[in-house]
Symmetry: C2
Subunit: 269 residues, 2 copies
């Protein structure tokens, strides 16, 4: 990891720590569980993308910290709810007991709710000029046509023929993972006061990277499109998407260094 | 019900209907379940309070419709999650099968998440000058020190002595019910561009009404403070709070008609 990437990670971790300071009158077990889920570990891929989008647009990464934290809180809430017995019933997350295994199912539901709410509270306290556009971008990516919609599709029947299956799986991936990854880059651009043309370029990069991210994830787990298409084809498609994404960053020159490093990290992952 | 109260209710129901139009690409079962939970019935007490706060501040009730809808969506999400098997395990809600009984537990978790997210999306699309203050007010009342904090306290041990028990129950009520009811009135005032003095008066009214609402609720269910203090004492305390709230509305004159009607409705309930 380069020194400047490490410095950006430090910015994010400090901001997350601040965002999870106990709220006035907040019950202690709730605060503790929220911190357990967010501060434990995590690659911080989305918040780094957010800072990267801001820098590519010529902004100071600090302008994008509220959006970056809000997105990481939303990502974490979605994992907490996804791990619940009624959903994936996962006992572990990031090598430690999942939230409901550690704190019980009722509290885990409320921890997810509280993280989602805290994300929007964080944004509503931010004075960035584009904050309403950032709020809209993040809310839309997290909602029924984005993240949550993807989770619902994930619950649904996948027992169709291979071709339909792949289409449904890609559609699910686009929403479940792609929407929030794309929103990370775009929200960063908005925080950096990007022009409409720059935002559109950042969105294109985010969409390619988001789909590649899900494909890489499927390659690790061996499920999703991998079972339908085979490892070779999926790996090739991911590489193709990442390369196209990197080409689209050329006009940014050196300012896209962080987006490029994250793209490289994904290739190697 | 007076004609003008019925007209305000119609405004709210139309706005809720619009807010639950299927989002672009949103899965059909999710849309259907969100509509089932919100559009079925409900007294619309909180959104009416929101319009009432706006009118008391001299605003047009339509200015407060986005806030009113957002608050009703948040109220509904909290009921959907509260009804889950890991929480209250309620089979019915408003005389019909609860969300998870009708659509399954996994979808019910996601319906709650989607309603909460839609609430903030709705606010982020609104152009009212005070919208960021409204967002902050609503987010704070819904979060760890408000609604969700109250739910967490509700999960906790209530097996202390009577005096501590009453204190804890009132603290829980203040957050679980009181915070969002207070925020409804205040957000309405903000939408109506109320002065700081008016907001403070509206907040005081909301706090009294919120606590009275929870006490009335406990009187119906026979649990909470009723078991600890007895019906007589709880009923007297609720009446006292409502009367004090009504007195605090005097300076608003006729403009507080809706807040007064809601207060009267609560007395009779």
């Amino acid at each position: 990891m380069t020194a400047r990437l490490a410095q950006r990670l430090r910015l994010i971790d400090q901001a997350l720590e601040r965002s999870l300071q106990p709220a006035d009158g907040s019950p202690k077990p709730l605060d503790e569980a929220m911190r357990y889920c967010v501060l434990s570990s995590g690659k911080r891929f989305r918040p780094l993308l957010c800072l990267g989008g801001c820098e590519a647009a010529g902004g100071d990464p600090k302008q994008a910290l509220a959006a970056a934290c809000a997105i990481e809180l939303i990502h974490t809430y979605s994992l907490v709810h996804d791990d619940l017995p009624a959903m994936d019933d996962a006992d572990e997350r990031r090598g430690r007991p999942s939230c409901h295994r550690k704190f019980g199912e009722a509290l885990a539901i409320l921890v997810g709710d509280a993280l989602l709410t805290r994300a929007f509270e964080l944004l509503s306290r931010n004075g960035t000029p584009n904050i309403l556009s950032i709020l809209r971008t993040v809310a839309q990516a997290s909602g029924a046509s984005g993240l949550i919609g993807g989770q619902v599709l994930d619950l649904g029947d996948k027992g169709q023929g291979t071709r339909d299956k792949v289409k449904i799986l890609e559609e699910t991936a686009k929403r479940k993972t792609g929407a929030l990854i794309t929103a990370s880059v775009v929200a960063g651009g908005l925080a950096g006061q990007a022009s409409a043309a720059t935002l559109s370029r950042l969105r294109g990069f985010g969409q390619r990277l988001g789909l590649a991210f899900q494909l890489k994830d499927d390659l690790h787990d061996g499920d999703g499109v991998v079972r339908a298409l085979g490892r070779e084809a999926v790996d090739q498609r991911a590489r193709h998407l990442i390369a196209a994404g990197e080409r689209s960053l050329r006009p940014f020159g050196q300012r896209a260094w962080l987006l490029r490093e994250l793209s490289t990290w994904l290739t190697a992952s």
